[in-house]
């Protein structure tokens, strides 16, 4: 009997079947990789195991006994610990406080600091890691923060450790360090589940692999008997790539150029560091990269939603410095935002209002400050038809539609503006296959019509199937570029995680050979 078993787990969210009768078995002392594309349901499954979500169906067995995990506290009692992708740390508290938080030693409601320090240092020493115990977590960069998270779990006597995409935020050395720690833990008898979508990590660290796709288990493999190709095929499935690009287009004039662009993220840390790229008419340029390397800041900077701290943006021949978002749109910029629920639509508003938002202020949708409801309605109707949106009427509130239909509305609106250049961020994320195909075909139509498209995606399959050129974004700058025909998944993957490939495919350009800044500057305040 397996040590840890998740049987027949099903979890539904409104409009989404996140886990569809999923089984997962993990042996004691094993490092088990849980892989799959974004949105395959890995994180949901692990949140269930950690008590953050309750399954609608199915059961969890630990050491042969059925267990109920209705809260993280219950999971901790069972010896389950989780290192979240988004760290669950209290920024204003110290490293030590964070590690022991919720399980402090000491009597009478008071923390025995000496005991806490001793205990934490003992665990840390066992793993060969060290941290500035009195520093505030907010002042640490992401690698040390992750070590705090790991210690936190171990401090709670976790013998089952879940790591949710632990390496996305780490530098290559930090990742190596982490893997060293994981192997040590497994040797000491801990059971480790690691969520990732990086194949080389899977191969190098795991003993078994469960591959998920669209909420289901696509396969379970022994790492020794698997190959990257095998895993990739299970991950991606057979149902993609029906689109045919009509050969290599002849790119025309430049419609979008970013040169030496820099910008800060929300917390004031540098997110873009001298980013340079151009998009020409008649081409789709793909930006590959792990999320969090400046993608959202790049999109926001192009749209004029955040200030740039340096560099220039040119949109359809205009220098965008100081231009409002509306003016940029009038020049021919369209935008499919990455987080469509936050930036692409208003769920509380009607379809009609959602359709009008970029152009409501001018004819035909309004005249001298008065909306033409008839015109707004006609526009919404025609869109609903052309994109076969499943919605009863233009007055339907958007919040009642499924993710695919919502995305069709975003894409429809942005294309209706007849853009010169379209920025499409993760356009197929959370969208079913048919809608994805529809969206891709629309992007290809734009390309054929002589417009430029900048496609941002972390799905290499998507990028390779429709882009003409692929750029890799890493730590706020472009680190490599290659024509799609010459693109090689592994070469791209290596660049995406900051690696330096030994050999380059023909036509490839390795980006700026500049020294790498630390990923997160100190956010000391």
């Amino acid at each position: 009997m397996a040590y840890l078993e998740l049987r027949d787990i099903t979890k539904r969210f409104p409009g989404v079947l996140a886990n569809d009768h999923v089984d997962l078995t993990v042996e004691k002392g094993e490092i088990h990789a849980l892989v799959g594309e974004n949105g395959a349901g890995k994180t949901t499954l692990m949140r269930i195991l950690y008590g953050l979500e309750q399954p609608d169906e199915g059961e969890i067995r630990l050491g042969g006994k059925r267990v109920t995990i209705d809260s993280p506290a219950a999971a901790i009692r069972l010896g389950i610990g989780m290192v979240h992708q988004h760290f669950q740390l209290i920024p204003s508290m110290t490293v030590l406080e964070n590690v022991v938080l919720g399980a402090e030693p000491g009597k009478l409601g008071m923390t025995d600091r000496a005991a806490a320090v001793a205990k934490v240092q003992e665990i840390a020493a066992g793993l060969g890691i060290s941290l500035p115990w009195e520093a505030r977590v907010a002042d640490l960069s992401l690698g040390p923060q992750q070590r705090v998270e790991t210690l936190k779990a171990l401090y709670r006597h976790a013998n089952i450790l879940i790591f949710d995409e632990p390496t996305t935020v780490l530098t290559a050395q930090e990742a190596d360090q982490l893997f060293g720690v994981l192997r040590k833990l497994a040797n000491d008898g801990a059971t480790i589940i690691i969520i990732t979508h990086k194949l080389h990590e899977v191969i190098s660290i795991s003993s078994r692999i469960t591959v998920m796709r669209r909420g289901k288990v696509a396969g379970v493999l022994e790492t020794a008997n698997s190959s990257p190709q095998k895993i990739a095929r299970l991950m991606v499935g057979e149902d993609v790539g029906h689109l045919e690009r009509s050969g290599r287009s002849q790119p025309g004039d430049e419609v979008l150029s970013l040169s030496n662009l820099s910008a800060l993220d929300k917390r004031g840390a540098p997110a873009l560091r001298g980013l340079t790229l151009r998009v020409c008419r008649g081409e789709i340029v793909g930006v590959a990269g792990v999320e969090g390397n400046g993608q959202s800041e790049m999109v926001q900077a192009i749209a004029g939603l955040i200030p740039v701290t340096g560099g220039t943006i040119r949109i359809a021949g205009h220098d965008a410095a100081g231009a409002s978002t509306r003016l940029r749109r009038e020049w021919g910029l369209s935008l499919i935002p990455g987080d469509r629920n936050a930036e692409g639509v208003s769920k509380l508003s009607t379809i009609m209002d959602n359709m009008a938002c970029t152009e409501y202020y001018r004819p035909p949708l309004s005249r001298s400050g008065v909306l033409d409801e008839g015109a707004m309605q006609r526009r919404a109707r025609s869109l609903i038809e052309r994109f076969s949106v499943k919605a009863p009427s233009p007055y339907t509130k958007l919040g009642t539609l499924s993710g695919g239909n919502v995305q069709k509305i975003v894409v429809g609106r942005e294309l209706a503006a007849a853009p010169q250049v379209l920025i499409a961020a993760y356009p197929s994320r959370g969208v079913d296959v048919r809608s994805t195909e529809l969206i891709h075909s629309k992007l290809l139509e734009l390309r054929a019509g002589g417009q430029g498209v900048l496609l941002i995606s972390e799905d290499l399959g998507e990028i390779l199937s429709i882009c003409d050129r692929v750029l890799v974004l890493y730590e706020g700058r472009i680190v490599g570029e290659v024509p799609t025909e010459q693109a090689d998944i592994y070469w791209l993957g290596e660049l995406m995680i900051g690696g330096k490939p030994a050999t380059n495919p023909p036509g490839a350009v390795i980006g700026t050979a500049q020294p790498t800044l630390p990923k997160t500057a100190s956010t000391k305040s």
Partner: protein, 359 residues
């Protein structure tokens, strides 16, 4: 995540979901009346007969009805003022401040330019009151729009500043000669809003308030500014990404809000009090919040909601006289409405605010 095109599964429908939109906007009223009835019963009063008396005194008879509408007038105006801001996602709890400053401004015009005829002085007083109210609201609006200063605390604080400042004015420089009480001189008779009848102070301000409500409803629904306000209120990040200037929209909505707040003050002073009296408002601005909460999605609901509270105030006053039931019952009812107004029955877009405010 696998997203299917099947219709969205509704979360298990609660009793509340089954009420429908009308039931949902009525629910806080009904619950408040129930709580009120409970208070009455526990203290040995007959709830049913109390409510019946309130109803009769509030609605039966022309004078009674006129008084009810009179009491509801400031609430309609403060309700409109608050809704304009709420709709843009600005949690303006500072209408009370605009009301005080507008009220003083209107009184000042009325007792200073006594030589002007009514058709000049009345519009002038309202315009200047609206202007002062708008300027007052501009302060927290600009702080929010350009410096991201949370508007809840600033508007709340600015209320007290306005109340104490006007109090200073009528206790010092503008104290009516010959009175010891803190009030301004009387406005000229031309500056008073004409009354409809002699038996009640019911006056043209009510018509003005109704017209403003209709105007607001039209503005939100059909004008481009109203559209921008709605989009910013529903999802500011989306509005920004679509090219709407969120900062400017916030400021416009707050200027409108403050202006109407100033009107409310002018209407009360020139329609009822005839002079500025220190601390004259029993919290019209705060009652406007309650009205606005109930009417946020449907501006026209302002009118019945304000009349509901106007009726309680009117009927409650008489019940106090005749049945010895304290008018403070109204505060209990209103407090309860406020408590229930944003719970599970939350106007959807208020839910998001909680997170931000405590962040």
């Amino acid at each position: 995540m696998a997203i299917t095109d099947t219709p969205i599964q509704k979360p298990t429908s609660s009793l509340y979901d089954r009420l429908g939109p009308l039931g949902q906007s009525l629910a806080p009223f009904v619950l408040a009346l129930v709580v009120g009835a409970l208070v009455l019963t526990v203290t040995g009063k007959d709830a049913l007969s109390t409510y019946t008396t309130i109803f009769q005194q509030a609605f039966l008879g022309v004078t009674n009805l006129a008084d009810t509408l009179l009491f509801s007038t400031p609430l309609i105006l403060t309700g409109v003022a608050t809704v304009v801001a709420f709709r843009a996602g600005v949690f303006n709890v500072g209408v009370e401040g605009s009301l005080y400053l507008g009220a003083f401004m209107a009184a000042w015009v009325g007792f200073t330019w006594t030589g002007l005829p009514g058709f000049v002085v009345l519009p002038l007083a309202f315009i200047l009151a609206g202007l002062v109210g708008a300027l007052w609201a501009w302060v927290p609006a600009a702080l929010k729009a350009y410096l991201q200063v949370d508007e809840v605390v600033t508007t709340l604080m600015l209320n007290y500043i306005a109340i104490f400042f006007t109090s200073f004015l009528v206790n010092g420089p503008f104290l009516a000669p010959g009175t010891a009480n803190s009030m301004s001189p009387l406005v000229s008779s031309q500056a008073e809003v004409p009354h409809f009848m002699t038996s009640s102070q019911f006056n043209w301000s009510f018509v003005f308030a109704i017209a403003l409500t209709l105007g607001l409803w039209w503005m939100l629904r059909r004008s481009t500014l109203g559209y921008a306000i709605r989009m910013v209120g529903d999802n500011a990040r989306f509005a920004a990404a679509s090219g709407i200037s969120v900062a400017r929209t916030i400021i416009y909505s707050m200027l409108l809000s403050g202006m109407v707040g100033g009107f409310a003050g002018a209407a009360q002073i020139l329609g009822v009090n005839g002079r500025f009296i220190d601390n004259f408002s029993p919290g019209y601005g705060f009652q406007g919040i309650t009205v606005a909460l109930l009417a946020a999605d449907q501006p026209l609901v302002i009118i019945p909601a304000a009349i509901f509270f106007g009726a309680l105030t009117n009927g409650g006053g008489l019940v106090q006289l005749f049945s010895n039931i304290p008018i403070d019952l109204i505060n209990v009812l209103q407090g309860t409405v406020m408590l229930f107004a944003t719970t599970r029955l939350t106007l959807k877009w208020f839910r998001g605010r909680k997170a931000r405010l405590t962040a």
